[in-house]
Each structure stands twice: as structure tokens, then as C-alpha cells.
């Protein structure tokens, strides 16, 4: 039987009077890639940050493989791998030292040879002595993903993992994300890209104003909302996931 990698119930996060996450509930199955779609300020990153332990929720529960992340943040964090939206590491460290540091923080001792092998797998073996800032955007994302999975976590959280990448680098990263799933791990990712959501995600939730508006497979979302008046109003021909997204979240540009 497939278990749940993540259970979030009635999660609420506030910044002062502003409620960024307003009663979000979601379940992610083992081996599933789950996408959070939403316009800027919808609450995607805040939801992820609360799961990662970066933000303290005002209420709600977060269970990572049945470990209560709010009551036991240390053991819960050991079960997740995280790629933040913008990642930076100490500028004085070489990338091999960065991998060693983060492996060490998860209790995974790595020899220099093992680190080199891992870097070679992501085509960064020749860059082992370089600094993170000297890598290209695609190389930085690959390294960040390697670090997020260096301890073989059952759940990987990716915040806009392909933003700013060219199409080739994006495709490579999708293949890596698919590879992570094939190894039995679950992935929760946020994205602005409908193409990414359709290509990579098993299920997608559309968020706005801190709430989840709808959840289903990409095809299921189109099927479910293809006759909504708001969706039809924005559709140009056959209804797409983007039409559903704009129909549900509106045309207004968000800051």
C-alpha cells in the first residue's frame, strides 16, 4: 500500500495582519510529484517555507511520513530535501566543500572520491574546485538539487526549480526530477510554468490568496473546469491548463 509522504492540514501562516496561507490542506503520496501553481503572492513559497520550518505557522499540522514537523522539527527536516527559490552558499567554499558540508549536516559522511563521483554524475566533476558563484545558472540549479537529495530524503521540496533556466537546462532538470521520483521519492514543487506542471507533475493544486482553489491531475483540472464561465472567457480555442489557471485566479497582474 502506498503511504503518504506529506500531510498538511488546515495550515495558516500570517505576516502581521496579512494572512499568507489560509487553511491549506494537502496530501502527497509516496512517489508522487505534486505541483503548487499560483500567481505571485498566492502563498506557494509561504506554504513551502512552513513545511521546511523556515516560517512558524499560526495553526495547522504538518506530518512528514507521520513525523510531526512542528513538534519535532529536527527529525522532520532529516526526512526532507530542500531547494530554495534562490540559493546561496558561503562564497569562500568550493562546491566540493559545500557538498561535504550539507552531507555532514544530514549525518552522511562522504569521502572526497564519493563527492567527486556525485559531482561527476551531474557533470560538475571538473568544477569541483570552483565557487558556487562561478557556476552558470543551470549548474547552480543542478548542484542545489544534488545537495537537496544528498541524504536520500523521501520528500523533496523544490521552490521554482527551473526559473531562469534556458529550455535545454530546464529539460535536463525535469529529467533529474523524474529520476528522483523513479527512485521512490516524493516531490512537492512550486512553479509558474504551466508547461512544467503538465510535463512533470502527477497532480497540481492551484493556489490564490493563500487558499487552494482546486486539486487534480493536469488533465483532470482541464476536464473539471473546461466549462467554467471564467475559464471559457479567457480560453483561445481548446481549453488549456493556463486557461484554467487564469480563469480561476483572474487576469490581474500581481506584484
Amino acid at each position: 500500500m502506498t503511504g503518504l509522504a506529506l500531510q498538511v492540514k488546515d495550515l495558516r501562516v500570517s505576516y502581521g495582519p496579512k494572512r499568507a496561507v489560509d487553511g491549506v490542506s494537502l496530501d502527497i503520496n509516496e512517489g508522487e510529484i505534486f505541483g503548487l501553481l499560483g500567481p505571485n503572492g498566492a502563498g506557494k513559497t509561504s506554504t513551502l517555507s512552513a513545511i521546511e520550518g523556515l516560517l512558524k505557522p499560526t495553526s495547522g499540522s504538518i506530518l512528514i511520513r507521520q513525523v510531526d514537523a512542528r513538534a519535532h522539527p529536527g527529525p522532520a527536516k532529516a526526512l526532507i530535501g530542500v531547494q530554495l527559490q534562490s540559493t546561496s552558499f558561503q562564497s569562500e567554499l568550493k562546491i566540493s566543500e559545500i557538498v561535504k558540508l550539507y552531507a555532514g549536516l544530514y549525518g552522511v559522511p562522504l569521502t572526497q572520491a564519493a563527492i567527486f563521483d556525485l559531482l561527476t554524475e551531474i557533470h560538475l566533476g571538473d568544477e569541483a574546485s570552483r565557487r558556487f558563484s562561478q557556476l552558470s545558472g543551470g549548474q547552480q540549479k543542478r548542484l542545489s538539487l544534488l545537495i537537496a537529495t544528498v541524504h536520500n530524503p523521501p520528500l523533496v521540496l523544490l521552490d521554482e526549480p527551473t526559473s531562469g533556466l534556458d529550455p535545454q537546462a530546464r529539460r535536463q532538470l525535469w529529467d533529474r526530477i523524474e529520476g528522483i521520483r523513479k527512485s521512490g521519492r516524493s516531490i512537492l514543487l512550486t512553479t509558474h510554468s504551466m508547461e512544467e506542471a503538465q510535463s512533470v507533475c502527477d497532480r497540481v493544486a492551484i493556489m490564490d490568496n493563500g487558499k487552494i482553489l482546486t486539486v487534480d491531475t493536469p488533465a483532470g483540472l482541464i476536464e473539471k473546469h473546461k466549462n467554467d464561465a471564467n475559464v471559457l472567457a479567457v480560453a483561445r480555442g481548446q481549453v488549456t491548463l493556463e486557461d484554467v489557471f487564469i480563469g480561476l485566479t483572474g487576469r490581474d497582474v500581481r506584484e
Partner: protein, 267 residues
Amino acid sequence: MFVSEPIAVTTQPPSPPLRAPELPEIFRALLEADFTVQLRNNRALLLSFALPLVVLFALFASKFYSALGDRQFRVAAALTLGMASIAILGYSMTVARDREKGVFQRLRVTPAPTWTIMTSRLLVQVAAILAMALVVLVAANLFERVSLTAEAYLLTFICVIFSSALFLSVGQALVGLIKSADTLNAVGRIAYLPLFALGLFSQSTIFGTTFELISRWSPGGTVETLLTGAMNPSNWNSDTWWALAVSTAYSVVFAGIGIRWFQWGAR
């Protein structure tokens, strides 16, 4: 130019412990990285060693400076400058810069408790301060003939560790109150005046007794009094005890401010 490469997907990462790491494992990883960063930071190395040595030699180069205090006091002044530099321009600047870049947020999503992240950095700074103190004391002995007894060396190192708490807590308070690394850089330089320069006149009445009193109980003044006493244990008196008490109070207050208002993220 981007070159498309065959995809090799990491499906089996090395060893899968799936357990919360132990504190010694976390500390080992953090300390190794933080020591590497410290040793590779040329600016920090310059501040740690060159600046206090320059001040040491300058204070012994002219008779004018002998009016500031005795020989031990001038060595104490060089040590105080070294500690202030490492803590305020070194530690707080590095923390502010890393916070702006998001380094702390990346560390915070690991199982490492937040206190270990900061403790590791503080331990590295204390080690840097001890190394600086060793270099300054050796230089003072070799070039200025300020020799101490074994007991005095031991007491001086203990007091250096104690005093480092004051300056590191000031650095923590600064980085707690000021978010921008650029602003902190500017404020840190100005902070030298009350923290270090003012203390230079704690044994001198050349600007009057009121100024001498203010200087003596300034953060730099209390540390200089404490270190001067430690370098000459037979002269350790009630003033030295008071300096110890006041510097402890400063440490508690500044550390309280630093902990209360410190934020891990820049936003």
C-alpha cells in the same frame, strides 16, 4: 554556449541514513566549513593579525603614547583593537553578508538547530581572537620586551576569551539591529570610536578626569583594564574586578539585544 549532455540521473545517493543527525556530526560539518571560510577570508585575516600588530608597534614607537598608560596597558589596547576588529568588522559583517545572500536560510532547512549554526561561527571567531592574542603577545615579548609570567599568560588568555564575549555580543547586537550589510559596514566603523578608541584614555587624564572616568567604563576601557590586570596579576585589584563585572554586564546586555532582534532572513 550551452552544450546538451547525456543525462545521468542520481537515483541512488550514497548512504541513506534517514535519521536525525547527532549534534557532534552537525558541529563537525559546520566547524569545518566555518574554519575554511575564516582562513580563506583575506580581509578577516588582515583584520585579525595585521591591524593589532600595527597598533602595537605604533603605541610603542613614540613617547607620546606612553602617556596613555604603562606597557601592559598598551599591549592590552592592541589586543582590544584586535578583538573589536574581528568581532565587529569580521563577524558581524560576515553574518550580515551571509544573511543577505540567503546562506542562513539554506542552513536552516537542514536538521541543524539554529543555535548550532551561530555557535559554530562564534567558536571560530573565539579561536581567531585567541590566535590573534598569541601573535600580539609573542610580538610584544620579542620586539617590545613585554614579558609575562606563565601565570599572567594563562590569566590573559582566560580574560581574552572573556572579553571576546563582550565584543562578539556587540557584533551580534549590531547585526541584530541593522539588516543591511552596507549600513552595518558604515556603522561598524563608527562603532570603533565608543568601543575601542574611547577606551584608549582609560588610564590617562590628558582630557580631564571626567573623560578618563567615561573612558574607563566604556566597553574598550573595561576590557583594557581587565587585560592590563591579567598581564600583571600582582596588581589585580578592585578596579580589575569591577572591570570584569562591568564587561560581563555589557556582554549580557548586548547579547540580549543581539538575540532579541536578530533575524535569519534579510526580508
